[in-house]
Symmetry: C2
């Protein structure tokens, strides 16, 4: 496989760190890959945009920081403004259409998805916004199998909330697939 370098960015309560940890665990536990997951906080973190990095590879990962992601997700305008410039040329840039309104042209495949709106309309629980985002990433990149994500969710999420998470994952995958063309 090609090494996959992902950055998920957004604001504090959107669950980007949790999404990154779930993705990394799924890669390692279910697909026998290597993964590194990290948060770097500095002066910019106090500004409000949270960033979480994941590297997934089938070879050992020596340097754990993502410099140029080939997959960048921005869930707020502030995160977009801060991080859109670091996308690897030709990479995949996913934004949420409710939270990111103003985009400049970057050298990337830009996918603007109504993730937040769809979660609110079809599921009604903002807490699974991050799982919907993971579904979109999985559908657009095929970096892991959806059932690997589900397996990790089964170990982390209380039984009563599992179906909610499954629906969010599938919703994200549908949005991703519809935008794949």
């Amino acid at each position: 496989m090609e090494r996959c370098r992902l950055v998920f960015s957004g604001s504090g309560g959107q669950g980007v760190i949790t999404a990154a940890i779930i993705l990394a665990e799924a890669a390692v536990i279910c697909e026998n890959l290597n993964a590194v997951q990290s948060q770097s906080y500095g002066a910019e973190a106090r500004g409000g945009a949270t960033r979480s990095d994941v590297i997934i590879a089938d070879t050992p990962i020596h340097y754990p920081k993502v410099i140029q992601p080939n997959v960048l997700v921005c869930l707020t305008q502030e995160a977009y403004n801060k991080f859109s410039a670091i996308i690897r040329p030709g990479g995949l840039l996913i934004t949420d259409s409710r939270y990111v309104k103003i985009q400049r042209k970057v050298d990337a495949q830009q996918r603007e998805l109504p993730m937040y709106r769809s979660v609110m309309e079809q599921i009604g629980k903002p807490i699974v916004f991050n799982i919907c985002m993971l579904g979109a990433v999985i559908a657009l990149t095929e970096v892991l199998r959806p059932d690997s994500i589900m397996k990790v969710l089964e170990g982390r999420v209380p039984r009563d909330f599992l179906e909610l998470n499954q629906r969010a994952l599938q919703l994200g995958m549908e949005l991703g697939r519809a935008a794949a063309h």
Copy 2:
């Protein structure tokens, strides 16, 4: 301040990743420091021992991985067996006395604390074991102020569970202080 490199290790459900994220966020948000927090998963992660790294510094952190921690926490025997050799000579090695029974002599200040037992006896909820551990780390290292941890907990923990977390943090600090001598 001296740069602080911490590794928290244990098994999947013990919350070492969450503890590391809380510590890193407290450093950045409340004490104006820099922090990097990461999980490296590879072949060894499938074995069962989870490891989570934090670096805290008042200068920029360029290399985010911890090679030799000056603070190492081991919450299971397996984690101890796997990671005790990486402690920085003269560093601080904290183990839980219920889960780590067999220790060899390492070049470190070894502190064996009854964290799990105290949490179960005095609070009765294993879910705050990781917060008790954080309290012990704070008391023994003074890397951050306890109220910085509380402030992050206030933003993350549902109101009903906040007192539980506060008690666990204080319990850990008492255990740490008692072992500081």
